[in-house]
Symmetry: C2
Subunit: 345 residues, 2 copies
């Protein structure tokens, strides 16, 4: 494969973190990105260079380009946390070298060199060789949501209690988890922001769907927690809502933070609960999970590919936007509900 | 041993938790306790009845009687979390029965029936048969501070990093831990509130002593953390100080909360650190530690008794106050620095 010296990409215009956090919507691309040309990067020993076929846009990408994600931006580098493509060059380490020429799903959280570009760099450990039966759209959106869903539900299963809680219940990730949970007889308790979201989530597999804006939310929450005794809390939002939920949970509850959609302060309302009720607060990051639980990684990846191959899972596509048109078109496509927006180099 | 039907005790006048939290000093006994007569309690199957020889007063007792500790008060029950005495009656379970007639140190956190009384009830699992070489004053103050010190330092040793952080550095507990740490070449970083406390703590074994009130505290803290890379944070205070320290700590830091001296809100300043830096927030409670780490319990208890027997450790006694005089005399004795106040039935 001939590799050019230069390539097109959507490049970060900001460095580090923002000082003026804003909401989770992407009102426009210009403040954060520019379409530009950069040198095609060279993979390190444990990395691969990927010719990108398709890259997805996740809420974490929007947070990242705005400088309000947990990883710092590097000005002038491409954005984009995941995609699908073909390995065009590799580093010298054996596992990286073994990926040469393969079609892979990849994540760039560890390499910090994004997927919204003609070529991208990923750690070999963050690449998944794909079965031919997995479509590009499913491969490009397979890591951040589907594998995370399987990994998080794995934590729930390890803990053993049938009931567990999720915030941002209407997210793609929570819907995937709710579906997995129903298949195995688990009982998700999810929060949403609008009553219209309730019927679909119940249909998918949620045992209880609570509208966090409802006037009786706190009373209902306490009642449901008392009846279901959930121990695991998978939290995408932090802030006052998450504090309230964790505070109401029973002994030995684990608050597992994986997102920070709410910019408000996150308070531990009763630190005494950590002492006397053995509650814990921790985080979840897929890269860390994969590193720490190597024996669970393989089965999770296989499970996701099987589900996409036999169509139990499929990715709802809102739009596939050419990279050249992304600056103008992405915000409006992202504003549409219920599907994924892709960038095609 | 003949057991009377009634006994004298210092009884809680409040139920549950206070609605008006105040500081950690005990300005007077009357708002919280009264000297009274109650029936001598009967031990449950896993419990023992102890004829109390001597009971100690800890900061956690003061917080508890004021209704600002993590456990709820029960009006009309005796207060007092630890003491020394002789087992006067036991429940039917074998371990409880095996303690009959023995001189023991005991803790009442699990039984919730206090030690400031002629007789007290403790779970057998919270009783420690004493060597004859351990004095009553040392036995009555052996669990809450010395065994906790050994248990917490055990966590530091398990983690492996030589440096670790403690708030409330001038407390008896932190001094014990600093001494243990010095013996094994560990490097405690401690915070205090007054410059006068610095020389003594350095002498005892602290590698760094930071005055949290100093104008350059934050800069010094960052510098020391950068140089020492501490992973464990043993925290007695919570609130803004603890939030600042945890926020400045490196990847994989564990914030272990065992006290809540600061009534201000405890904020997780950057929840993203839990996600991407694998930081954790948890609690420490000796009762829980003993239950969870049964194999470490025996050696910790033996270690404490050896240290008191050969006088490497000894308890500084400020006063031994007869139970009949406690209502009037305890607050003034507690206000004196650097020693322990005991109640003698």
């Amino acid at each position: 494969m001939t590799i050019p010296s230069e390539m097109k990409a959507l490049l970060l215009t900001g460095d580090g973190y923002t000082r003026t956090p804003s909401g989770s919507a992407l009102e426009a691309m210009e403040p954060y990105l520019e379409r530009g040309t950069v040198a095609v990067p060279t993979p390190g020993p444990s990395q691969v260079l990927i010719k990108v076929s398709l890259a997805s846009i996740n809420p974490s990408d929007v947070a990242f380009i705005k400088g309000q994600y947990g990883q710092p931006r590097v000005k002038g580098r491409p954005a984009g946390f995941e995609g699908v493509g073909t390995v065009a060059a590799t580093g010298d380490e054996p596992y990286a070298a073994s990926l040469a020429g393969k079609r892979i799903a990849f994540a760039t959280g560890l390499s910090n060199w994004g997927a919204w570009a003609d070529y991208s760099i990923a750690e070999a450990a963050a690449c998944i060789p794909l079965l031919d039966t997995v479509k590009d759209e499913d491969g490009a959106a397979m890591i951040v949501n589907p594998i995370t869903a399987i990994a998080m539900f794995d934590i729930v299963k390890q803990e053993g209690e049938k009931a567990f809680i999720m915030t941002a219940g209407a997210s793609q990730l929570c819907k995937l988890i709710a579906g997995l949970a129903r298949e195995e007889g688990f009982r998700p308790i999810v929060t949403v922001r609008r009553d219209e979201q309730i019927p679909l989530l119940k249909e998918i597999g949620a045992a209880h769907v609570l509208n966090e804006k409802a006037p009786d939310f706190q009373a209902t929450l306490r009642e449901v927690i008392k009846a279901e005794q959930p121990r695991i809390f998978l939290d995408a939002v932090t802030g006052p809502l998450a504090s309230t939920i964790f505070n109401a949970m029973p002994k030995r509850a684990r608050w597992i933070i994986y997102g920070k959609l709410d910019a408000e302060a996150t308070v531990i309302r009763e630190p005494g609960q950590l002492i006397f009720q053995h509650k814990h607060i921790e985080g979840f990051w897929l890269s860390e999970w994969m590193r720490q639980f190597r024996d669970r990684r393989g089965p999770a990846i296989l499970e996701a590919q099987k589900r996409f191959s036999d169509r139990r899972w499929s990715t709802d596509v809102t739009a596939v936007v050419p990279l050249d048109e992304a600056m103008a078109k992405v915000p409006a496509e992202l504003a549409k509900p219920n599907g994924k927006v892709f960038i095609k180099p």
